[in-house]
Symmetry: C2
């Protein structure tokens, strides 16, 4: 997690030759508000990143029947909220989300950022209610995966069952990585790890490894990393001064990836 070889790398491996398919993904369907229309996993260009990884034709076609609807979520809107009854998982099709938990006393914590092909809502299974908020950070579309039907189908298809379990387990592993980050890294290390993780995931989706646009505010990054927004900002500036990055507001260009990597690994506090 949060290092060079982590879950995004697994995805990258799984992608193998089919990387080209991913390129098409940048067309962003601005404010198309038509809810619930037909789509198909079997023809989705995210199928090598998403739930259907590794499924054969017959399984895929059954999945198509399951994942029958999409939902459009405008920037700033919530896909679900803590306390909402849990019914479906959601696969991000386009756009970008954050999830955050909050405690009674108003503290809140961003627990993750999700991009195309990643699943949202796994937390809801445990008590049939969502336990966090999922908020779109840009206009987004998700595929709705009715959970009980997914359970039914995964009883029929071993591969789907296995893939689903892997996705849940991967989330657990990812969380452990974040705990390591929050528990033992200093501010610079955290931000470096965060940036590397982001770019890896973007790269697995066919985007540039070196330049990216942050979809979240400094405050959201800070919340995720256990830092205050000022510290995030200062650290960006520091990285820029040191020639690691070029920072223009939310546009980031990574100049010295190896340098960032070294920051994460080296200097163990």
């Amino acid at each position: 997690m949060f290092r060079t070889r982590d879950s995004s790398d697994d995805i990258a491996q799984e992608l193998a030759g089919s990387r080209a398919i991913m390129r098409a993904m940048s067309e962003s369907p601005n404010r198309v508000r038509c809810d619930t229309f037909k789509v198909a996993c079997s023809s989705c260009n995210l199928r090598e990143l998403c739930l259907p990884v590794g499924l054969g034709r017959p399984d895929l076609e059954r999945l198509d029947a399951l994942v029958a609807t999409r939902r459009t979520v405008g920037r700033g809107d919530t896909l679900f909220r803590s306390g909402d009854p849990f019914q479906s998982l959601y696969a991000v099709r386009t756009g970008f989300f954050k999830t955050c938990v909050s405690s009674e006393d108003g503290r809140d914590q961003v627990t993750g950022f999700q991009m195309a092909g990643e699943l949202l809502g796994l937390d809801g299974i445990s008590a049939d209610r969502h336990t966090c908020d999922a908020v779109a950070l840009e206009d987004s579309q998700v595929c709705v995966i009715p959970y009980s039907q997914l359970e039914d189908l995964s009883r029929e298809f071993t591969d789907l069952q296995h893939q689903f379990h892997k996705i849940m387990s991967r989330e657990i592993v990812r969380d452990h990585g974040v705990m390591l980050l929050l528990g033992s890294m200093r501010a610079e290390e955290r931000l470096a790890a965060f940036l590397l993780n982001l770019t890896q995931r973007l790269q697995a989706r066919g985007f540039s490894a070196s330049s990216l646009i942050l979809r979240m505010t400094r405050e959201e990054i800070g919340s995720y990393l256990g830092l205050k927004l000022e510290t995030v900002s200062r650290t960006f500036s520091k990285f820029q001064d040191e020639g690691l990055l070029e920072v223009k507001q939310r546009q980031i260009r990574i100049i010295d990836q190896a340098g960032l990597q070294q920051l994460v690994n080296g200097t163990p506090s």
Copy 2:
């Protein structure tokens, strides 16, 4: 997570009337070294806390066939290690474990403490290798649950499938709670939350709500909470001075539970 109503409370609810059964659990089988002998979920007094929650008779008997062996792990020994091939999950039967992840550069982080009825090894599903170490903090016994057989069986029994998914999801929710703790709480709040969480889980197992023996060192607590051992020690002392606890090395008696709770909720940094 880490508050009054959390996943341990769910367990507590599920326990409902059967709390009495739990009492018998304190007999600790010191250094019984005989590996692999027959046991049965259907007659295990942990069945209301463990994987079998909510299963009917027929399902239970099939589970018995699956969970055929136990393994004894001496204090300080590892049940599995990061990098080990993943084959089985483990249910703690007696004893106490910690799990920890570590990064290349030697940093490591305790990601959890597991007691009777809790599952170990879920991280391994994602890449067919374990990604953390599981170490017994006292002489312990675990039930070995061969994973591929669990998948097979959960394709047959909806309830088992559902229960398994809930357990994975609960782990994700728990992790989010830890992230909240690590990301936004101060030392006192962290330790208070930790103690309350521990006692709740112990209470759900029929132990006293107010007095407990810590199985882990100050350093391990510190690693889990993102603090140094000195800070943990100081905070214990402070709690004692304030009349919240009585601390004698690893023996803790909680004097003012409400006070601890208030610490966690109130004073939002």
